[in-house]
Symmetry: C2
DNA sequence: TTGTACGCGTTATCAT
DNA sequence: ATGATAACGCGTACAA
């Protein structure tokens, strides 16, 4: 009664041909007469045959899957919208390529490396994504050692020995600073992500560079950790300065939102007394009071590009490093001319962003 | 030069024993003399042998992986913290069980079903998780049809033919209503998720039931969609009522946060004029102005329990439906006695929640 | 303990 | 050109 799933042997028997012929017919390869092919396909359909992924993987010596290793404490994961959208982009791009996404969650850094090792050793995946790149990251060397194809996803492809998807976050930060400068701000601070991460560094450097380009002195910068608590703490530090900034550029939305609340709790009116910008354009940012001016990054598109790049690398196709449309600034209500500015009498903007 | 990875045949040759003996030794099964076993293990180590997942999967007729199919537009995914934490819980629980998590992202409902079908047909996974359960969900029947083990993750295991992890969100909502009643609120509204989802319905029913239990008339309820925009719109509807509520219980944080901003934009002071509660306890909620009173749900623990349950089901072990610690209310600053209440002169709570 | 068939599709070799 | 045959990938399980 346990109706075993049909194999190509069953199909071969039903169609009265050999095993090899079935395989050729099913894979659309030459060497099979058209009518034979039709008969085979009909038999396969009749029997409800579907390819066994397991057998196919073994025969092809390919896993037909790609991996993503996540080594973060779960709390910081949940609050990172980038991540989920990135995964969605990967997943949707993989399906039509016949690949699956294997997710491996590791509790810490040591096991992260072990996780990559395991994926490679077991042959569970044909390639992996490298995200959350760190300065002096040990993973590229590890992957080279175990011979696992990978794509590097980060703000800077220069110096990467790996194929790379450039997700350049710098233009977004530059646009934010330019916007603030245009409003008349002179003391523009930054709440940065950890120096450990390249996107922590690149955003900070973009901020510093934009100030310099505007002919302004470098404002105060507090290294933080991308968390809400970190953003709140950093904000308090900045507001406690003898000469507090009139605007703060945050390295992500979460810190910016927490910073906005921290400033409000100290009696600062945003944006009257303090302008604030975020990064990510989380869904909630457009629905805060005031709505947050932030940088919109298309994590979904990045995931899609990364997936296509990785599969191309695995297939041995030549790939150009994909350059993606840069993030752009979404101006909402958390930025305004500084109090001291001659521009500050401009009418307050609406709380709600225009439809787009 | 292409040093092929070692197989158990290589190990067998090196140790001077048969294939079967190697398999037995490596799997720690009886029938091998201790010294022989040691020799085999030494040889394996020497050669750097690691099991081939592909071969093992084929031989065992098991995928050694479980699947999670996600069928949501990427936007709503990114803003759902529950989801990512849930995945992290699954992933961490799976690793020690030798299982991997296969993530499949589908763009819509039709392809969602096709996605499950494909996972089953290809034998890519040994079982799947069923989340985001809908009323009259077609998936249990589909999975029964294709014979794919599954665990049902939802607020109510009653009526589920599948093994189930009960993630009962109702006590959290009940606690929120009770808290508001205790503060003196009489008109407590609800902004619900879609009736389509069981967790949309269960939260709404919990709210209605808690009001009845408190002897209060059922307040107004607006069906929404768990999105920020939906939360804002629903809030405006409620505030436009002839007799607006003094408190609103939202079915998730995102709607609550947007609702808070919408109320503020209308000149309502939260919590003086309107009390608000959320659901999820997103990281950001503790860092809003005012900080949001919300229900803390341990998505991480739920994921862990679901993973363990699923693997148990796959292994044919008998499982009791796991009942998890219920979510609990985290009282912050967005709730206070209503203006009209005799209690409303109680001192305002601090903006920040106590450490916990 | 050993030998070997098995799981299932892919691909190279060979016969017609 | 068409199709059959067999080896292969790699570990598991059972008979010998």
């Amino acid at each position: 009664m346990t109706s075993r799933r049909p194999t190509i042997s069953d199909v071969a028997r039903a169609a009265g041909v050999s095993l090899g012929a079935v395989s050729f017919a099913l894979n659309g390869r030459p060497g099979v007469a058209p009518e034979t092919r039709d008969r085979i396909l009909a038999a396969a359909k009749e029997l409800g045959w579907t390819p066994s992924h397991r057998a196919r993987a073994l025969a092809a010596s390919r896993a037909l899957a790609v991996g993503l290793v996540i080594a973060r404490p779960p709390e910081t994961l949940g609050s990172d919208p980038f991540f989920t959208e990135f995964i969605a982009g990967i997943g949707l791009a993989l399906a039509p390529l016949g690949q699956s996404l294997l997710l491996q969650v590791e509790p810490d850094r040591e096991r992260e490396l072990a996780g990559y090792r395991r994926l490679a050793a077991e042959g569970r995946v044909d390639g992996v994504f490298l995200t959350d790149l760190r300065v002096g990251d040990p993973r590229p060397a590890l992957l080279a050692e175990v011979g696992l194809p990978a794509v590097w996803i980060g703000p800077d492809c220069v110096g990467s020995s790996l194929p790379c998807v450039a997700v350049d976050d710098r233009p977004g930060i530059v646009a934010a600073v330019a916007h603030l400068v245009e409003l008349g701000h002179q003391r523009i601070a930054h709440v940065a992500g950890p120096d450990e991460f390249v996107h922590g560094v690149s955003r900070r450097e973009a901020w510093a560079g934009a100030l310099k380009a505007a002919g302004l002195p470098e404002g105060p910068c507090v290294r933080s950790d991308f968390s809400a608590q970190g953003g709140a703490d950093a904000t308090k530090v900045l507001l406690d300065l003898a000469d507090p900034p009139t605007a703060i550029v945050y390295a992500n939305d979460l810190m910016a939102i927490a910073g906005m609340a921290a400033a409000a709790a100290r009696g600062f009116d945003v944006p009257r007394d303090l302008s604030i910008t975020g990064f990510d354009d989380t869904e909630v940012t457009g629905h805060l009071q005031p709505a947050l001016t932030t940088v919109h990054a298309d994590a979904y598109a990045w995931g899609k590009a990364a997936a296509e790049q990785l599969v191309a690398v695995i297939d041995g196709r030549e790939t150009s490093n994909a350059d993606l449309p840069p993030p752009h600034l979404v101006i909402r209500a958390s930025t305004a001319p500084p109090r001291s500015s001659p521009l500050s009498h401009t009418p307050n903007r609406s709380t709600h962003e225009p439809d787009h």
